[in-house]
């Protein structure tokens, strides 16, 4: 019955949750999975913003090598 929410939590944790956590009801398993997903999204957003702003403040000479290391994927998201 709780397989859906338990699977969602397992997915967010990248592994099986501890036994007593897995035994929580579906509503709470889902709430926990959502809270972890939200924390990940918040972190990804903060990191992207910081990366973007850091690149803009680099001395021009350094932007080329840094762009190369950061990779095309990151840069296109940053609009550079």
């Amino acid at each position: 019955m709780t397989e859906g929410a338990l699977a969602a939590l397992r997915n967010e944790l990248g592994g099986k949750p501890p036994k007593a956590v897995a035994a929580l009801d579906e509503e709470h398993l889902q709430a926990l999975a959502d809270a972890i997903a939200k924390a990940k999204r918040r972190q990804a957003k903060a990191l992207e913003k910081a990366t973007d702003e850091a690149f803009d403040t680099l001395p021009r000479l350094l932007r080329g090598p840094v762009r190369k290391i950061l990779g095309a994927g990151v840069l296109s998201r940053m609009g550079h």
């Binding site: 967010e12 944790l13 990248g14 592994g15 949750p17 501890p18 036994k19 007593a20 956590v21 929580l24 709470h28 709430a31 926990l32 959502d34 809270a35 972890i36 997903a37 939200k38 924390a39 990940k40 918040r42 972190q43 990804a44 903060a46 990191l47 992207e48 910081a50 990366t51 702003e53 850091a54 403040t57 680099l58 350094l62 090598p65 840094v66 290391i69 950061l70 990779g71 990151v74």
Partner: protein, 374 residues
Amino acid sequence: MPTGRRKLDIRSEIIKLERLLGSGGSSLTYLESVPPEELRRLHEQATDAIFDADQASIQRLLGASRLLPGGLTAKLAQNVFGPLLSARIADQLAADQAVDLAKRLDPSFLADIAIELDPRRASGVLGRMPGSLIGAIATELVKRGAYVTMGRMVGHLPDRAVKSAIGVIDAEALLRTAFFVEETDRLNAIVDMLDDQRLDDLIVAAGEVDLWPEVLDLVEGLTKRRQGRVADAAAAHDDELLAGLFKTAHEQQLWDFVLPLVGSMSKESRERFAALKTIQRKTVLREIVAAAARTELWAELLPLVPLLTPKARGYVAGAVAELDRDVIERAIADTGSNGISAPGLVAIAAAMDPKAQAELATLFEQRLGKPVGD
């Protein structure tokens, strides 16, 4: 519902999870049924999942930062990266490089980074931070009320750094921090760093801001000798202050924390403790007996019994007589291995009604293989 020490451990672990998950985990009270060791495991799993989620981007940023001179990286970290990104990078740096960078940053910004760090991952860096810098960061963390952060770091800091931090934070902050320390051997080290005056400050702070659960949680992790130091410091105070401790223990069912304190007190402190009016109350004594039975802390309780008033001994005897036979048998077994407990059991027996006395005598004979009177 869990009681006593498990309840406090659960509370501490849930607060840590709420901190990790931010606003997304604002109400995790539904986790109160989960044992503390499983909550700690959940915290570690969630930390790893969140921290590893953006590993590829962080690794690329780390590669880019290696191109920059240390001064520029420090400037970027403080003015642009912000604490979250800096924290994720810091735990990937070589310890020497991270410490060098930290020395160029403001303690206020380092405190912000500390809040975002996972101490397990940054253990190598924390272990090499200069004590003076840790002291400056601790000052800033106290201003932010970041006790979870401080508590989780303690296990990863060398003694000299912990000493620096203790030197700059007040008693209230120290108690609140100790509540979140995960390695109990570090609590022993912390208590050893406190002179009698500072230990007394802890007791006074606990009384003023009602931090008795924090005191009891701290005491639980200490060795008997150190528990004795704290217990004697508490017993030196007036009835009013100690009444606050008992009120908290009563309301939050924390008597199984108080009993080790009683057991490790000096004889003089125990006499004073036994004479307190709050302790002589029937409801209090029944709860104390229940806690001793639940956690098998008879060796801690029994030395107190002969010191109580006859009426109070009667309350204890009544509560013991109502316990299951196997629980009483275990108490008797305890007296066999602990010389100072025997007078306590005799005092209980003497205060029992004749029927309960006869039953207890039978249990004694069965357990010890000889009549009680011999």
